[in-house]
Symmetry: C2
């Protein structure tokens, strides 16, 4: 009989938490008992896992010594991280709660930590998508600069984001005034110039996080990266435009073959293109299209990426990191 | 008494045509008689100008010798252009019908043709916005590379684009299947990786046009430009993310002062940002925000632009070019 592991999921009832439970089930992760937890809001709610209804318990009073692995989906206070560490659990953080130095950032299929510790960080969904593509491309290209615009779905802000876009859209179609709540202004039929709070240097928090996670995953701390995160009126799925500068002239057939060959990518045929809604939703692949050279510079490569931010960019990568952590014991 | 000029507007009943008539009126353009024309679809429709209702006539049978200036809003067959030339009319083309070599491309306030001929091209709305900002910036920066993602409103495709986004959105909110007609797939709550037909090299027609118009207006044919045009589920207003590489370190206070000082631009204060819907709509200014340096490169400058594609990017610039053409006679 195979070994199983007891697991805690902090934030199991949000969009990502629900997707994570589904992916654990689909991938036949060796779960013994599953404990859905929440720091606050969701305590007492019900999370469904393998046709069982589980009541969400409070993080504060949970005994982490009873589980082998913790998924941190919702932000967690440092004091709770200390308790989890003291209990000796393995941990996968999706929430950005973990300081960079405390655990390596990993995208499954792109990088693996030199020595697998017991804690790993899963990066922002757009970083998962971008790293999946660039990680493959750099086997045939030497990257000199990455410029990307990530148009993020409202589900980056969880169920509240989805509800607000739906509500604003209905208000506008019914000629009623729009009342922004979660977002700082009208998101329906509009694009917002940032998707997270801005730092003193003008970069948004998610832009800085995305850039630093990308460089960590690629293992190229010196690569210049310019990132803009735009909030788009899209429910699910991130879309990215990417322009790369390379050390040498880009050989397009080689690039296309490389992308076509990657198991985690779906290269859409030239002349067509993928979209978040039409292609990426619900998929475990990152979609790539509109692969083209530069108009003026032979060392330039441009492309378009669409990826499911909740499933591929969050839940799936986190579960794959969980598999990596438990592998030595399986 | 001031001199007036008889004017023809080919495509007067579309979104841009209507805005053009409004701007002609608002700016007290010295219009004598105004003749709304159409090649086909709109013949017999009514265009309103200065509280008069004017019936749209056929281009084919119109005697261009009776007017001094022609605005070409809807695409026009080469044979008609030959007739307009033979009649000796001045002409402003917004439609892209005119080959590049036949007339200079001009953005009011940015460039002026060395010798004003009788014909001018008004560029794509996103090129008007981008050139307005870069034209100002290069007084304080030496540009080495421009990378931009232009998220285009559905009104780029005229009234049909607006109607399709509204129809698809209503279908989705009512849980009915989406039926794409003008766009090749679902545009509601989605982003499409291109907004125009693709050419054999993978660049879309509008990407190539935008890049070449930008370089012509800036008078910098050697500047490398990477452009992606994305079709966004936004009714009116283009939004652009721009990343610039400069020859030297960027002095942010100097850049901000330069942008703040430009009469055609509205620089939104640091920490805030403009949007197409909330700021740019109905305005004669190009809005700029999120001005920030590079994360890793001191020679990098990033910013965000929002501009009304119909009014500022099309109608206003065209009327300003008309003023330029008639100025010697005023």
């Amino acid at each position: 009989m195979n070994e199983t592991f007891d697991i805690a999921v902090i934030g199991a009832t949000g969009l990502v938490g629900e997707a994570l439970l589904m992916v654990l089930d689909e991938r036949e992760f060796p779960v013994g008992n599953l404990f859905p937890l929440s720091a606050e809001a969701a305590i007492g709610q019900i999370a469904a896992f393998r046709e069982r209804n589980l009541r969400v318990r409070a993080v504060d009073s949970f005994d982490f010594a009873t589980v082998a692995l913790v998924f941190v989906v919702e932000p967690l206070a440092p004091a709770q991280l200390v308790r989890i560490e003291a209990a000796g659990c393995a941990l996968v953080d999706l929430s950005g709660s973990l300081p960079e130095r405390q655990a390596p950032c990993v995208v499954a299929g792109v990088n693996a930590p030199a020595a697998v510790g017991r804690w790993l960080r899963s990066p922002l969904p757009a970083a998962v998508a971008l790293a999946s593509v660039l990680g493959k491309l750099r086997t045939v290209l030497q990257l000199r600069r990455v410029t990307a615009t990530a148009c993020l779905a409202v589900s980056s802000h969880g169920r509240e984001g989805v509800e607000e876009l739906a509500r604003q859209t209905a208000q506008l179609l019914n000629a009623r005034p729009v009342e922004p709540q979660l977002f700082d202004r009208q998101i329906a039929f509009n694009l917002l110039a940032r998707a997270a709070a801005e730092m003193p240097d003008g970069h948004a928090r998610d832009e800085r996080r995305l850039a630093s996670e990308l460089l960590e995953v690629l293992g190229e701390p010196q690569l210049p990266v310019a990132i803009t995160c735009v909030q788009a009126p899209v429910f699910f799925g991130d879309s990215l435009t990417v322009s790369l500068l390379c050390a040498e002239s880009v050989d397009l057939p080689v690039v296309l073959h490389c992308l076509d060959d990657a198991p985690d990518l779906e290269l859409v045929e030239q002349g067509d293109y993928p979209t978040a809604v039409g292609d990426a939703l619900g998929q475990d692949l990152v979609y790539v299209g509109r692969v083209r050279g530069g108009l003026h510079d032979p060392c330039e490569l441009n492309l378009w990426i669409a990826s499911d931010n909740v499933r591929k960019g969050s839940a799936l990568n986190a579960v794959q990191l969980g598999e990596l952590l438990l592998k030595p014991h399986l």
